[in-house]
């Protein structure tokens, strides 16, 4: 009854502040802990605490961060995608083949343009196809995308016989390996995608309806809305980010490896979205918070590397921090 819940809706000023900005508090907490840890280890904090390192954190997070933004839409719509890492490699290989093939005849710039368009069209089409199977087949996206990830990875390895593909033109490397001032281009791309996806989530019909579908698909359908189409479009938004990630990553490395590229990207991007407050049950989330989720995971990866933690232990620490962060966010949920 309204009367009983009204008591729960009058929390103290502090808990209301914590409720609104828990993710910011966690970000500051991780930042402070990282600074302290570095100070203890090295006697001074500047290994972690310097502008260049902050830029590094953003650059290292940019490719997965771009995918995490698309992933957020898919999770909000009530689905999940475990195939983004393999799809990025699959799409990247196809696109780079096109670039390498066209470059001698039409020149590097035109070839790269065509290659990027191919990556985007192909990736969006694959994701929409995935959404189509999930909605029309009424099967869990978890299973379908798990299957698709095996297919994409296997086909990529088969095509390159487990090797990699290099891009012949040097021009391609410039996409990711140039700076604007001190800011690397991948960070710029990330913030452009972030701005566009934030806009879609807040100021478009599609954005609102993705939240509605994830919150109550049946009620949304009975509001005269084609809910299957909304879910498929959420997948399309993810497909687009996967294509952008393929180009940015391919350019930064000047290659794409069929067996090692994109490994772990699926769960890492899901973790970014979830630490950023996107609820796995769908319908809830805020893209500004996802930005913080991406930065939190970026800082954790960064500081553990700086501290020289054993590579084999890094994931254990990361896992623990992810669980702690989500538990903190949950306690906020209970307050509500």
């Amino acid at each position: 009854m309204g009367t009983t819940s009204s008591a729960a809706r009058t929390p103290s000023a502090f808990s209301r502040f914590a409720h609104e900005y828990m993710i910011v508090l966690i970000t500051i907490g991780v930042f402070v802990c990282a600074t302290i840890a570095c100070t203890i280890k090295f006697g001074e904090p500047t290994h972690f605490l310097n502008i260049q390192n902050m830029v590094n954190i953003l650059r290292a997070s940019s490719v997965m961060g771009i995918i995490a933004l698309g992933m957020a839409f898919v999770i909000i719509s009530g689905n999940i995608d475990l195939s983004v890492g393999a799809q990025m490699v699959f799409v990247g290989i196809a696109s780079f083949n096109v670039i390498n093939g066209l470059e001698p005849s039409i020149g590097p710039y035109a070839a790269i343009a065509v290659g990027i368009v191919v990556a985007m069209v192909m990736s969006v089409a694959l994701s929409m196809f995935c959404g189509f199977i999930v909605t029309k087949g009424v099967v869990p996206s978890f299973i379908i995308t798990l299957g698709l990830s095996y297919i994409y990875r296997s086909l990529s390895i088969f095509e390159l016989q487990s090797g990699g593909i290099n891009i012949s033109t040097k021009v391609f490397q410039k996409i990711s390996n140039t700076n604007l001032g001190i800011v690397p281009m991948p960070v710029i791309y990330f913030f452009i995608v972030f701005a566009v996806y934030l806009y879609i989530s807040r100021y478009t019909v599609l954005g609102r309806r993705i939240f509605a579908v994830g919150s109550n698909a049946q009620a949304t359908r009975l509001s005269g809305i084609n809910t299957d189409m909304i879910k498929i479009q959420a997948f399309a938004l993810l497909g687009l980010t996967v294509a952008i990630a393929a180009v940015v990553e391919g350019s930064r490395m000047n290659s794409m490896n069929s067996s090692s590229s994109g490994l772990g990207y699926d769960l890492n991007t899901i973790a970014m979205a979830v630490v950023g407050g996107i609820a796995m049950e769908g319908g809830k989330g805020n893209f500004v918070n996802v930005l913080f989720g991406i930065i939190i995971l970026g800082m954790i990866n960064n500081v553990l590397t700086i501290m020289g933690m054993d590579v084999y232990l890094v994931n254990a620490v990361k896992g623990g921090i992810i669980i702690a962060a989500v538990l903190l966010l949950r306690s906020r949920g209970k307050l509500n």
Partner: protein, 503 residues
């Protein structure tokens, strides 16, 4: 008579707002005592205090003459107080006996379940309350009425002496309600159990309960027997007046209208297993009721028209043009809207705000270019908030913070904004209190007056009688009969809906 329960001077304040003010509530042993009042009157708060769910600020509770103090529901249960909730807490994928013993399973050596004993005791319990159910059948395969009865059986299993039932009949039809009350009467008369019955349905209160207490704004307005000394039932209109503080039931909501041309023409519509070749016409400005017992196809008929489920044969014509909506999105484009039954599952988008729920259908209308203009959205929402008298402080609040009646008005509003030609209303006043009911009826009248064609599916004969121009009665998926407004009577509706014929 000995008292089962005596609560005195119960006072409770939430954040400075008094919710219960010096409430005295006494229940005699072995009676069915109805606790009634509008949403927000304090019924649930009072019962939650009794059950140890929330603490009280002041007051005393005596249970069978003994002063008690509960801090948790488990303590209350140990003293013989059981709750039967409105939302069925049964697990569909378990059998009847597994549900009954859920959380209290009987175990043998090594924790092995003692199934034989549990089944035996289930049979025994159902015999005691005189109900025939196979204990090993899946609950999924039972009718809603039996699910409710399982909940009641649980309280028998726990040897509850006082059972609190929170709107147990909301989703049941007349016939099933009688079933549930038969079991309740059996409990009180044969086993000396006392029942507190929370309800919005005044008809059930006067027919089946012994005594009623009315709460309004946290205060007891009165406690009375449901029968006068001469043995006549108390007038429902009097009870409603006690609840709301003004006359509501006798208020005439029906208004004469001029009917227009045929708007929707349904011919031989067939949904296998639910709707059997039904034909009817709906005119502009007409309010057409469809009634029948639960599961006799009235919901499915409405859903088929809206494209929510597919019909296998038959045709529909809207404004003389053949239509065949394959999904609700298509029906909406043709100008058909539907307020579905079971608001919580089918209509409420809980993570959106009140305004967000109101504008979800018409969202593309608030764009400039691709961008949603929130001020435009808010403007429309405010307009309809005022038009439908929706009580909400801030349209940016989540929809869940509203009472049932106000939520229903929001759902109605989202379709009114879309201005459909045909509006299907399934159980439009389900879980809505008496005051808000009238407001919804008035809105329906107004819409019909503007030329909308309205189909109302309802399980309540009284509701049909108050607003419908014409009533179709379904039985086992067939159209059993049609009644004009002049010939509405609960008796003839009952005859038709149980498969009989009128002379």
């Amino acid at each position: 008579m000995e008292n089962a329960l005596a609560m005195s001077n119960i006072t409770k304040t939430f954040g400075g707002v008094p919710v219960l003010i010096d409430v005295d509530f006494t229940v005699g042993k072995g009676e069915i005592h109805a606790l009634i009042g509008e949403n927000g009157a304090g019924k649930s708060t009072l019962m939650n205090i009794l059950g140890g769910v929330i603490p009280r600020d002041k007051g005393e509770i005596e249970l069978f003459g003994e002063k008690v103090e509960f801090h948790t529901p488990a303590e209350a249960l140990a003293k013989g107080i059981a709750f039967v909730h409105q939302e069925l807490n049964v697990v569909n994928d378990l059998t009847v006996y597994e549900n009954l013993f859920l959380g209290h399973e009987l175990k043998g050596k090594f924790g092995k379940l003692n199934k034989a004993e549990m089944i035996r005791r289930t049979v025994e319990i159902f015999e005691r309350i005189d109900v025939e159910v196979d204990p090993t059948v899946m609950v999924r395969d039972l009718q809603a009425t039996y699910k409710q009865i399982i909940e009641i059986a649980k309280s028998v299993l726990f040897n509850a002496k006082l059972v609190i039932m929170d709107e147990p009949t909301t989703s049941l039809t007349q016939h099933e309600v009688e079933n549930v009350f038969r079991v309740m009467k059996n409990l009180t008369e044969q086993h000396g159990v006392t029942i507190i019955f929370i309800s919005h349905k005044l008809k059930e209160v006067v027919e089946f309960c012994d005594t009623f207490t009315v709460l309004r704004n946290g205060e007891v307005i009165g406690t009375q027997a449901t029968k006068t000394p001469e043995g006549r039932p108390v007038d429902q209109a009097d009870i409603a007046r006690m609840m709301v503080g003004r006359d509501v039931i006798n208020v005439e909501v029906y208004k004469e209208r001029k009917e227009g041309d045929i708007l929707l023409s349904v011919k031989d519509l067939h949904v296998p297993g639910h709707v059997n070749e039904i034909s009817f016409d709906l005119h502009r400005g007409e309010i057409l009721g469809i009634t029948g017992l639960l599961g006799d196809g009235k919901e499915e008929l409405a859903r088929a028209i809206f494209g929510d489920i597919r019909y296998t044969s038959g045709t529909m014509e809207l404004r003389g043009k053949r239509i065949n909506p394959k999904q609700p999105a298509a029906a909406r484009k043709f100008g058909i809207g539907m307020l579905p039954a079971n608001r919580k599952e089918n209509a409420i988008i809980k993570d959106l705000t009140v305004a967000g729920n109101m504008t979800i259908v018409t969202l593309p209308d608030y764009r400039r270019g691709p961008t949603l203009i929130k001020s435009k959205e808010y403007e429309t929402a405010t307009l309809y908030k005022e038009r439908l008298n929706i009580k909400v402080q801030d349209l940016h609040n989540l929809i869940g913070s509203l009472s049932g009646g106000n939520q229903q008005k929001v759902v109605l509003a989202k379709w009114l904004i879309a201005k459909p030609d045909v509006m299907l209303l399934c159980n439009p006043t389900q879980g809505v209190d008496v005051g808000a009911k009238n407001e919804i009826y008035n809105i329906v009248m107004e819409l019909a007056g503007l030329g909308m064609g309205i189909i109302v599916t309802t399980g309540e004969a009284a509701e049909a009688a108050r607003i419908c121009d014409r009533l179709l009665v379904m039985y086992h998926g067939n159209l059993q009969g049609e009644l004009d407004r002049n010939n509405f009577s609960e008796e003839s509706i009952m005859i038709l809906s149980t498969g009989g014929h009128l002379n």
